[in-house]
Symmetry: C2
Subunit: 203 residues, 2 copies
DNA sequence: CGCCAAAGTCTTACGTTGTAAATTTATGCC
DNA sequence: GGCATAAATTTACAACGTAAGACTTTGGCG
């Protein structure tokens, strides 16, 4: 139906396209997401997506942004469901972080992929990633600001984030041997960091 | 020169090929390593490398293995140069780890790339990666065994390893904002973990 | 000394990829 | 109702990994 494509129609098609990309992606990994497969999944010709996205990178950026949104939602849900104790809520968010990574490994890998072409070209992605990051670190920052932790709040937040991310990425790259899985390493790190940073006695 | 290609000749060509791949790789990233470019760099036809490696993946596996070897060498050098104090030597190896990652980012990225096809098919790579891992964690394990650290030695080694890897990977994926770089996060983590795990008073 | 089987290399070719360009198709407006 | 034009499709191209086949060189045997 040519002539005029309403903004909603454009948006709807974009969503459908991102859905399809997520599906292919989760099903068979990154290699399965080709323009032709994507088009087939949508029942359109291989060039049609180019009316809605600049190129394949833009599509992947949208999928990534969607991943960050899901991620943030999962963390927020866990955080909110954990009750009022900030320490318990933060721990719950941490568990949700790891659970997300291992139940949506393809999504997590894509989100933190190392060869992203000019992330800055996709403001929506930047915004989603930033929202997600703030969600990750907000509990910790709140704790740090409340004086439960020593050190600069934002830095402490990043430290815990990295302490989750490191073991997860080592696991994904197949570098961990059986018996030393990501969850065990994370447990050790969380305990060690808590012992090192937590002010159990607020003096 | 057909008929019979001595083992040394095969080995020599393989080395030349890996060298060329490393060069292309460091120069223009992974996308620059195409069979045709590689062949051009070596002055042979695009199919010649297939006499020396099964396929492109095998070449990349060799480059990865080489990376792990360089990595292990760099850590060992730093460790050995640091003197007898195990804590100082371990700290030096940690610094060398980070320095390696940021001075050979392409190599580090490739080594810990997340979409490696059947790593188990390349025993040389497995061996090199394992050698490298042991180098990384040996100082820490020694310290842990000497009772300087609480907890299981090997686990503690993996914890520190992951605490280096996490910030580095976050930096490579462009997720860290200015002011919260990998080195700062690592410094915080090392300090926090030391405080949490180190037995300053061997009671 | 000469020739030939075979190892090494090169050329050619195929299927797949992302996407540019040209073509077709279908509608809102006069 | 016809036409300008937006959307979609078809066609086409360059680059990729690599399979298949042709060519080229040489060690070993008569």
């Amino acid at each position: 139906m040519p002539r005029a494509l309403s903004d909603e129609a454009v948006g709807a098609f974009r969503e459908r396209l991102i859905d399809a990309a997520e599906r292919l992606f989760a099903r068979n990994g990154l290699d399965a997401v080709t323009m032709r497969q994507l088009a087939a999944e949508l029942g359109v010709s291989p060039m049609t997506p180019y009316r809605y996205f600049a190129d394949k990178d833009a599509i992947l950026a949208a999928v990534r942004a969607r991943g960050f949104d899901r991620h943030a939602a999962a963390l927020n849900a866990a955080f909110d469901a954990a009750g009022p104790d900030p320490l318990a809520a933060t721990a719950a968010a941490g568990r949700a972080y790891v659970d997300f990574a291992f139940s949506h490994p393809e999504a997590y890998k894509l989100m933190f992929d190392i060869s992203q072409p000019n992330e800055a070209d996709y403001p929506d992605l930047l915004a989603a990633a930033d929202r997600s990051r703030r969600t990750m670190t907000r509990g910790l920052e709140a704790m740090a600001e409340a004086g439960l932790f020593a050190g600069e709040p934002k830095l402490v937040g990043h430290m815990f984030w990295a302490a989750l991310h490191g073991p997860i990425m080592l696991a994904f790259s197949g570098k961990l041997e059986p018996g030393y899985g990501a969850r065990r390493i994370i447990a050790g790190l969380m305990e060690g960091l808590q012992r090192g940073l937590l002010r159990t006695e607020p003096a």
